[in-house]
C-alpha cells in the first residue's frame, strides 16, 4: 500500500492510508498514514461500529488538510495531532 501511495503521489494525487501499527507503517512507508491500534484487516475494530469507522476516515482526511510536512507523516489515531 505504501508503494501504491507513493506512485499515486508522484502522479499528482494526494493519498492517505489507514495503517495498522507503527511497525507496519515503518515497513510500508506510506507518504501519509493514520495509525490505528486495531487488528490487521479491521480499520475500525469492532467492525459493526459505523460511527467509529466514519471518525477514522474523517481523521485520515484531516491529515490531508493539515498540510503538515515530515517524512513519512504518521499520526496515531486519537493523538492530539489527530484532532
Amino acid at each position: 500500500m505504501g508503494l501504491a501511495a507513493a506512485t499515486l503521489e508522484r502522479t499528482g494525487i494526494a493519498t492517505v492510508a489507514v495503517q495498522f501499527g507503527r511497525e507496519a507503517a515503518a515497513d510500508a512507508r506510506p507518504p501519509r498514514a493514520l495509525l490505528v491500534p486495531f487488528r490487521y484487516g479491521f480499520p475500525a475494530d469492532p467492525a459493526n461500529e459505523p460511527g467509529r469507522l466514519l471518525a477514522i476516515i474523517d481523521a485520515a482526511l484531516r491529515m490531508l488538510e493539515s498540510g503538515e510536512q515530515g517524512s513519512p507523516l504518521l499520526v496515531r489515531h486519537g493523538s492530539p495531532a489527530d484532532g
Binding site: L3, V16, R29, P31, G41, F42, A47, N48
Partner: protein
C-alpha cells in the same frame, strides 16, 4: 546503443528508488476537500459487495484474483450461525464496501466533494514487485487520473 553497464546502473537505480524512500514525495491538496473527488483503494479480496452498496454507480475494480481459500460471501441478510461464522461476518462487514458507504456519508454531509464512481482492490502481495510498480500501479494511477480523482484513501484489509 546503450552499454551493458549503463543498463545495469539504470536498473539498479530504478530498483533502489522503488525499495526505499518512497514516502518522501507528497502531493498537497490543491483545493478544499469539499471540492475534491475521493477514491478508495483496499487490499480487500471481496469484489462482490458492490450490489450491496447504497451507492448507485459505484464500481469496484480488482487488479488481482481473489486469494485461494477465501470464504464465500454469506447471503445478504442471513444471520451468522456460530462464533466462527460471526467472526467471518464481522470481517466481511469491515470490507471495502463498508468503507465506501462511510465515504458516501461524508459526501452527503458535504465534507468531501464527490465520491469517484470507481474504487480499487489492489492485491499486490501476490504479485512481483516489478510488475506491481511498472504495470499494476501505473494502471491504477491512469484510471484514477481519468476519473479526475484528487484524493485516494488507502485501507489495507
Amino acid at each position: 546503443m546503450p552499454r551493458l553497464s549503463e543498463l545495469t546502473s539504470a536498473v539498479r537505480a530504478r530498483l533502489g528508488a522503488g525499495r526505499t524512500r518512497h514516502a518522501d514525495h507528497r502531493t498537497p491538496l490543491r483545493k478544499p476537500l469539499n471540492e475534491c473527488v475521493l477514491a478508495i483503494i483496499s487490499s480487500s479480496a471481496y469484489v462482490d459487495v458492490a450490489p450491496q452498496l447504497d451507492a448507485p454507480g459505484v464500481e469496484l475494480c480488482g487488479f488481482r484474483a481473489v486469494s485461494p481459500g477465501t470464504p464465500a460471501r454469506r447471503p445478504p441478510g442471513s444471520a451468522p450461525t456460530d462464533q466462527s461464522d460471526a467472526e467471518a461476518a464481522d470481517f466481511e462487514a469491515d470490507r471495502l464496501g463498508v468503507v465506501v458507504e462511510r465515504a458516501c456519508e461524508l459526501t452527503a454531509s458535504g465534507r468531501v466533494g464527490r465520491l469517484s464512481h470507481r474504487h480499487m482492490i489492489l492485491y499486490g502481495a501476490v504479485d512481483s514487485r516489478r510488475r506491481l510498480v511498472e504495470r499494476t500501479q501505473l494502471t491504477a494511477a491512469r484510471w484514477l487520473t481519468q476519473d479526475q480523482v484528487d484524493v485516494v484513501l488507502l485501507v489495507p484489509m
